[in-house]
């Protein structure tokens, strides 16, 4: 069973502020999801290549050609805050 501490840790990593009742609700839901994973574990996958994609596709690449970038103004247009040509972000706190 996943612990409240685990949920709090993951929430912190995802920058989610959870109230105690939300934390418990998330814990219960994650528990259910993990139980489902346990169910999948029961399937015999011996000899099956692990996969990360549902489509049987590999090696999708492009040539190294420059495409005109978006106009600087367009890219800055939605910035909540800026200084000249730069985005301005709130103080960085490394805690």
């Amino acid at each position: 069973m996943i612990s409240r501490e685990d949920v709090a840790h993951v929430a912190r990593l995802a920058r989610l502020a959870l109230e105690p009742d939300e934390l418990e609700r998330m814990r219960a839901q994650l528990d259910g999801i993990l139980a489902y994973i346990d169910q999948l574990r029961a399937v015999d996958v011996a000899g099956v290549e692990p996969t990360s994609h549902a489509v049987p596709l590999v090696n999708v690449m492009r040539e190294d050609a420059v495409v005109a970038p978006f106009p600087q103004e367009a890219m800055l247009a939605n910035a909540p805050d800026r200084v000249g040509e730069l985005f301005r972000v709130p103080r960085i706190i490394e805690d």
């Binding site: 590999v58 999708v60 690449m61 492009r62 190294d64 970038p69 040509e85 972000v89 960085i92």
Partner: protein, 487 residues
């Protein structure tokens, strides 16, 4: 550095080097990668990490990484995959960096470095590709800044990370590894190697263990090592710090420290352990790569001669001392310069001397662009040496001519003709100068006759001075000897 505090400890260092690949466009979008453009003028929704955009892999970035992997004798994995590395920092607005984790592009290689004249193989653990992140400018220092400014031009530039094994045993070896690694990248043409512009960046893992022990001590990661000098100085400081702590019976804390080049210290970064909990998972927007063997073989066939091989060949083929060969192969451009000059003037040691003393006095030998664009081309250097060889100018004048060639971009014959620098080989004219010098320096003459043969050198110097350095030294020597013996 061999401070007493370290005597009982063995230093264990591994380096992680990040190299920006010299592709025209970014790793996952077509934005240009040129350095120095106006902030945020080379971005698009993909490299600014906007929702709903899709990355597409740059084929050339893969090719460059394979090329590097082969040059480092790595195993290029048949299959590899990109992964998301999650963290929150304003240099990466989508809150994850596309990188590689469990299935990197290549593993298990080695890079040979030279330590005290002996080759030492340093293991390469892995080589993988990722995207670079944006650049932050803090208003003041990070600690006091009320806000930070972001330029995303660098965001999405292909970045190749190469992790060495913990095989390095001193700060000097770490610096030697970084130099050798940079030379390989520059020879391969995959990275410009410009550390000032951030094309090549280095993090180090360092720990100490009791000498003779096989286990590993607690390691500390040092970031922000952006020059060869910083790598060595930061590691020297850190080794000393750890040795003192261990000697005092303290435990080393596993942490990330930042090198402060202004204060010459490493200091801890204020980030807790969970910052390293990156929750990697396979990047769902990119399908796996299965690198075709035929492609790998083709890349292998096109590998250029690498620095070490070229250095050995310079010794074997051109008869150069190993020191010269090392200096001349520090960059591909310089080695090319040397070989082009030798083709035009086949006296390798003489050419080497001129490059090492004159060319490298003016230009940094590891700067590909500066050497390739040197105003004195290899052919012009050969032309200058030809003028010395046929006696048109003296070796001393030739050095002045070289300086002028560098300044003006003109060739040697033009400068020699314009400045009237042709060597004086007219015996009658030189004999008159020699007579005058002998008459003006009775003391030196007396010294010489008294057995101080060194006095003859001073007299030669006087003749050279009187002729503005243009006298043919062979003739001056002979004339002086004849006249002195007759006095």
């Amino acid at each position: 550095m061999s401070a007493p505090a370290q005597a009982g400890w063995e230093v264990v260092i591994g380096l992680e080097v990040h190299a920006q690949l010299r592709t025209r466009s970014k790793m996952f979008c077509g934005c240009p990668t040129a350095f120095g453009a106006a902030p945020n003028s080379q971005t698009c929704p993909v490299c600014q990490g906007m929702p709903g955009t899709l990355p597409v892999i740059n084929r050339t970035a893969i090719e460059y990484a394979v090329r590097t992997a082969l040059a480092l004798d790595c195993r290029v994995n048949a299959g590899c995959r990109f992964a998301r590395k999650h963290y929150y920092y304003p240099d990466m607005p989508k809150n994850f960096q596309i990188s590689q984790y469990e299935e990197p592009l290549a593993e298990e290689g080695l890079l040979e470095i030279d330590i005290d004249g002996a080759a030492r193989p340093i293991g390469i653990q892995r080589l993988h590709l990722e995207e670079d992140v944006g650049k932050l400018l803090h208003e003041g220092t990070l600690a006091t800044a009320q806000a930070s400014l972001v330029d995303f031009n660098r965001s999405g530039v292909p970045l190749m990370e190469t992790v060495s094994k913990p095989d390095l045993r001193s700060p000097e070896e770490a610096a030697a590894y970084l130099r050798a690694f940079r030379a390989v990248l520059v020879y391969l043409g995959v990275c410009d190697g410009n550390m000032e512009e951030g094309s090549l960046r280095c993090d180090a893992n360092v720990s100490l263990r009791p000498r003779g022990s096989a286990g590993l001590g607690t390691k500390v990661e040092i970031k922000n090592l952006n020059s060869f000098r910083n790598v060595q100085r930061a590691l020297e400081y850190e080794v000393q710090r750890q040795a003192q702590a261990l000697e005092a019976g303290e435990r080393i804390v596993q942490e990330t420290r930042l090198w402060d080049a202004d204060r010459d210290v490493t200091r801890p970064m204020r980030s807790k352990e969970y910052a390293h909990d990156y929750r990697y998972f396979p990047e769902p927007d990119l399908v796996p790569l299965q690198i075709d063997r035929a492609w790998v073989d083709a890349i292998r066939r096109d590998l250029p001669e690498l620095p070490r091989a070229r250095r050995r060949r310079f010794v074997a083929q051109h008869g150069l001392p190993p020191y010269d060969a090392g200096v001349l192969t520090q960059s591909r451009a310089l080695a090319d310069y040397f070989e082009a000059a030798v083709r035009a003037f086949p006296q390798p040691k003489l050419v080497s001397n001129w490059i090492m003393s004159e060319l490298l006095r003016a230009l940094p030998g590891d700067d590909e662009r500066a050497i390739a664009g040197a105003p004195v081309t290899p052919e012009r250097l050969a032309g200058l040496l030809g003028l010395v060889q046929d006696g048109t100018i003296s070796g001393r004048i030739a050095k002045d001519v070289f300086e002028r060639m560098l300044r003006t971009g003109q060739d040697a014959p033009t400068i020699v003709a314009r400045e009237g620098l042709t060597q004086v080989a007219d015996e009658a004219a030189l004999a008159a100068v020699v007579d005058r010098v002998l008459a003006q320096n009775p003391r030196a003459v007396a010294d010489y006759r008294g057995g101080k043969t060194a006095a003859a050198k001073a007299l030669v110097g006087q003749v050279m001075k009187a002729t503005g350095g243009k006298a043919n030294p062979g003739i001056v020597n002979r004339l002086l000897e004849e006249k002195l013996s007759r006095i």
